[in-house]
């Protein structure tokens, strides 16, 4: 598959995504749209599709970068505790400053994710040479701990069900005026693109990258900054989408190889395609209701990951 074909596929899916929904809007007679239809378009359909693309691109690129920085194919926001940290941050902001606005929430989410990523990297660095599979296990356990702390506070404040509801990745709530925060992932992705090769070097270890004259700390921090920013804005606007950052880079690596300069744009496009497909499926399966994206991606992505894992062994 070539990149041009992927772009065409993405384009088709975008059209499809815009025109699938409860309100019947036809592409062909767009000149005859009434005010109502135009509103649905502007307020809901277009923002939703934009958010889908941004989240897909952002989370997949994050996954790829984390994999480069740890030199481990199984690391991603799901398997490094990042999603759980963002969730914890949001809850913390709600408890400490109940009337907090979106800005406070994002600041908290970002801070917690950043901190958790640093801790995770520290752990991963210490156990790197043990076993490829061991690092994601530790990451998942790390996430489990963060989650149990979150649940503890949620339980005290009697909001366990609410917290779970916000956190389930869901695009049906994406409306004009409420989702724009996600655009903050754009600069993060751009920076990532510029620094891509340096992240790979950093992943080879501190001594190795210093030997090549790289400012290890700085590059590491930039990487963590981009990842944390993207993860926190996606979690805030959409919720958690498990496995997305994990499976997309791995599928791309199976299909297109491992040269980062080539695969980074492919990973980004593929992430958007993957998310669009999952979202359209989620909207169609129990039409006119929809299954939240966290659930569809969690299932489809989880199963793909399992297949990748089992294939990798034989």
């Amino acid at each position: 598959m070539k990149i041009s074909q992927l772009i065409i596929l993405l384009f088709l899916l975008v059209i499809l995504s815009i025109f699938v929904g409860v309100s019947d809007i036809s592409l062909l007679n767009f000149l005859k749209w009434d005010e109502q239809q135009r509103l649905v378009m502007v307020i809901s359909r277009i923002p939703r599709t934009a958010a889908l693309i941004l989240a897909g691109v952002g989370m997949s690129v994050c996954g790829l970068i984390m994999q480069q920085m740890t030199q481990n194919r199984f690391v991603s926001p799901t398997t490094a505790g990042s999603l759980d940290a963002a969730k914890m941050g949001i809850l913390a902001s709600l408890i400490f400053i109940p009337q907090a606005g979106l800005w406070f929430k994002s600041l908290f989410a970002f801070g917690f994710t950043f901190l958790a990523s640093i801790i995770f990297l520290k752990i991963a660095d210490r156990i790197r040479y043990r076993n490829v599979i061991f690092i994601p296990i530790v990451g998942l356990m790390f996430g489990g701990i963060l989650n149990s702390i979150t649940t503890f506070f949620a339980y005290k404040n009697d909001i366990v069900q609410n917290v779970n509801a916000w956190m389930m990745g869901d695009f049906s709530g994406v409306l004009q005026g409420q989702y724009e925060l996600i655009y903050f992932s754009v600069p993060a992705v751009v920076i990532t693109y510029l620094y891509a090769n340096k992240f790979t070097l950093v992943g080879m270890g501190e001594d190795f990258s210093k030997n090549l004259g790289l400012n290890y700390r700085a590059v590491m921090n930039i990487g963590l900054f981009c990842v944390s920013l993207t993860v926190s804005v996606v979690v805030l606007t959409i919720g958690t989408i498990p496995f997305l950052g994990l499976v997309v880079p791995n599928i791309v690596s199976v299909l297109f190889g491992d040269n980062l300069k080539n695969t980074l744009p492919i990973t980004a496009i593929f992430g958007a395609i993957f998310l669009l497909i999952c979202d359209i499926l989620g909207r169609l399966i129990i039409f006119p209701f929809e299954i939240p994206i966290g659930m569809t991606v969690g299932l489809i992505g989880g199963v793909i990951f399992l297949i990748l894992l089992i294939r990798q062994r034989s």
């Binding site: 599979i133 005290k156 659930m295 989880g302 894992l309 062994r313």
Partner: protein, 315 residues
């Protein structure tokens, strides 16, 4: 301090904490209260032993001291089942599925899950424990996602039933279930006891164990099965206590610097009983039931886990 002294101290602690539980603030209708409390103490000890045994053995099989079998997805299966029945039956749940029925179905489902996992791994010929664990964790994450989805749809009042199941608790003890759990546990301990020596061999690593004549794959399967039964039983009895295993095993290793499982396992059972009894006592008397035992244990256990990870020597 000699090993015997340490064991005696642990036994003493277990007994005195049990005594404290039984007799502290005993109400006037003491006969009934004593019976209830007796079962509660006994169930704490049973759960402690199940977790201690399964965690020590699991860590030996994986050659890794920061893992615990409960993260392998058992608890996720349990939660998915609990959520599913509430989703289907709503507030009728208790009428449709009796406690003992729930217990047996939960244990059964967790066992089926474990067996599927083992078949999947061992069919490939090689027994890579980390691989097994990661597959279990990923399946666990998938199940958790499904549970969260169902929990969204459940009516908030009915959600309380699910929420109760999310945290381990010794206060909803059901006496019938306790006897079943005790039976399972004793059975596992008896079957496993004869082969305690084999665990010492396994701790030398796969190659050395095979060299010394151990049928390695068979032993691993045997122990994984025992672990699955014990984790399933303790989870179905009181609920998830994810990080207790890591906490108590490592305390035991620190206290008893030995490789012998004939010492490690019984001692870890004692440590674990003390931890649960002490934790529960804190919950009831200090926190006045404002928190749950699983929260305290996950909190302390989780922090301890982080500490262990960060102190690992760079290899």
């Amino acid at each position: 301090m000699s090993t015997t002294t340490k064991i005696l101290i642990l036994v003493f602690l277990t007994l005195s904490l049990s005594g404290l539980f039984l007799f502290y603030n005993l109400p006037n209708s003491w006969e009934y209260a004593l019976e209830r409390r007796g079962f509660k103490v006994a169930s704490m000890i049973v759960v402690g032993c199940c977790i201690a045994y399964s965690s020590v053995v699991f860590q030996t099989l994986t050659n890794n001291k920061i893992l615990t079998p409960s993260i392998m997805g058992f608890e996720a299966v349990y939660m998915l089942f609990q959520t599913l029945i509430v989703f289907i039956y709503g507030d009728q749940t208790f009428q449709v599925i009796k406690n003992s029925g729930n217990f047996f179905i939960s244990v059964g489902l967790m066992m089926v899950f474990a067996l599927l996992l083992f078949v999947l791994i061992f069919k490939k010929g090689k027994s890579n424990m980390y691989f097994l664990l990661l597959i279990g964790l990923v399946l666990g994450t998938i199940f958790t996602t499904m549970s969260s989805f169902l929990q969204l749809v459940i009516d908030p009042n009915e959600f309380l039933i699910v929420e109760q199941k999310m945290f381990a608790s010794f206060n909803r003890m059901n006496i019938d279930i306790f006897w079943y759990a005790l039976g399972f546990m004793i059975l596992c301990f008896i079957i496993g006891f004869r082969k305690l020596q084999h665990l010492d061999l396994i701790s030398l690593g796969r190659e050395n164990a095979i060299n010394l004549g151990l049928d390695y794959n068979k032993s691993i399967k045997f122990y994984l099965f025992i672990i699955a039964v014990l984790v399933a039983v303790s989870t179905a009895l009181v609920g998830p206590l994810t990080f207790l295993g890591i906490l108590v095993t490592n305390l035991t290793y620190e206290l008893f610097k030995t490789y012998k499982h004939s010492i490690l396992i019984p001692c870890c059972c004692l440590v674990s009983a003390v931890a649960i009894l002490g934790g529960q006592f804190l919950v009831e008397q200090v926190f006045n039931f404002n928190t749950t035992i699983s929260i305290i244990i996950n909190f302390i256990g989780g922090l301890y886990f982080m500490f262990l990870l960060l102190k690992v020597r760079k290899v």
